[in-house]
């Protein structure tokens, strides 16, 4: 231990500073005592306490955690939820405005009241709208024409068949009569 010499060489109010063993000094000036053999027993007691403290530190109580409460699982669950949430938002934003606009024009073009619907279309989209309308009309008209033609042929065939049947029936009767 480092001792100071600041007290040395001065006339002290008691005696000439710290002399001899520290315990004697305290006993002499302050009248304080300690139990016999105290420092030896105290040393053992301190060492025992340290050993028991060390045991406490070495064996921390284990916490039994259910697997879904373990930190690693919690992080994985949180990450999955965030991923799902992000995917949902991303999927919603996938349909571009151009696609939506195209569908709108097609729907309007196929509407029955073309003149009225044309008022709702912007000028820049008018050409696309006109094309869609014309295309729709051509397709519908062609379809209708084809259907008419098919009906006509079918009717003709039916009429022809009925006439033939009538003829056959008449001839058959005539033959029987004759």
């Amino acid at each position: 231990m480092e001792h100071t010499s600041e007290n040395n060489g001065k006339k002290n109010f008691l005696e000439g500073g710290l002399k001899g063993a520290i315990s004697k000094h305290h006993k002499k000036y302050l009248g304080t005592e300690i139990p016999e053999n105290y420092f030896a027993t105290s040393k053992l007691s301190i060492l025992d306490k340290i050993k028991s403290e060390e045991i406490k530190v070495a064996v921390p109580p284990k916490k039994q955690l259910v697997f879904w409460m373990k930190p690693s699982f919690k992080y994985m669950a949180a990450a999955s939820i965030i991923l799902l949430f992000g995917l949902t938002i991303w999927m919603q934003n996938l349909e571009t405005p151009a696609t939506i606009h195209k569908i709108t024009i097609d729907e309007v073009a196929y509407s029955n009241d073309v003149l009225l619907e044309s008022l709702l279309i912007e000028e820049s989209e008018l050409e696309t709208f006109t094309n869609a309308t014309l295309f729709q009309e051509v397709v519908v008209k062609a379809e209708l024409s084809e259907q008419k033609l098919e009906n006509l042929i079918l009717n003709t065939l039916i009429v022809e068949d009925s006439l033939l049947d009538d003829y056959i029936d008449d001839k058959f009767i005539e033959t029987i009569i004759l």
Partner: protein
């Protein structure tokens, strides 16, 4: 390498720690005990605080960086442990400093390990009348023989303030004790 530096090195080495701690106890136990005893007054209290101090030293030796000497570092731990002990007890029992001083003397003279004569009782009474700061500074300087620089590191007060506090205390004692 100084003896303390060598001791610190051994204390930080897990294989040598226990043996080194034995050496540390031999070197400092008695000094720290008296340092604590003067603050907490009774032997029983000093024993408790001494044990806590060494446990704290054992647990925290890895954090000791050598900025101050081992001796100052340990005194500081002992001082803080003693103050903590007093604060806990004084808060429970006493309302002001006068009560604490009276209680201090009562406890001291009632302690089975105090057998002071009249002059010793007189000195203790004068010291108990000091402010807490004066008491600590006087005791560390006079009885523990620490330098002002060491005391300054322990109690975190400037050296010039410590000197003035100490010499004022000495003057008061000289006047009162030789009346």
């Amino acid at each position: 390498m100084s003896k303390d530096a060598e001791l610190v090195k051994k204390l930080k080495d897990a294989t040598l720690k226990d043996r080194a701690f034995n050496e540390l106890l031999d070197a400092y136990q008695e000094r720290l005990y008296w340092h604590i005893r003067k603050i907490v007054v009774t032997h029983e209290n000093a024993d408790d605080v001494l044990q806590n101090t060494f446990i704290r030293v054992y647990k925290n030796i890895q954090k000791f960086e050598g900025k101050s000497s081992l001796h100052t570092w340990m005194y500081r731990i002992a001082y803080n442990e003693s103050i903590r002990f007093l604060e806990q007890n004084n808060k429970k029992n006493y309302a002001n400093i006068e009560e604490v001083s009276e209680a201090h003397l009562e406890v001291l003279f009632g302690d089975e390990y105090f057998d002071g004569d009249e002059i010793q009782k007189k000195l203790q009474t004068i010291i108990a009348g000091f402010s807490e700061k004066q008491q600590r500074v006087f005791q560390m300087k006079y009885f523990d023989d620490l330098s002002f620089r060491q005391i300054s590191e322990i109690v975190e007060i400037s050296e010039s303030t410590l000197k003035s506090t100490y010499y004022t205390a000495v003057k008061i004692i000289e006047e009162k004790i030789f009346l």
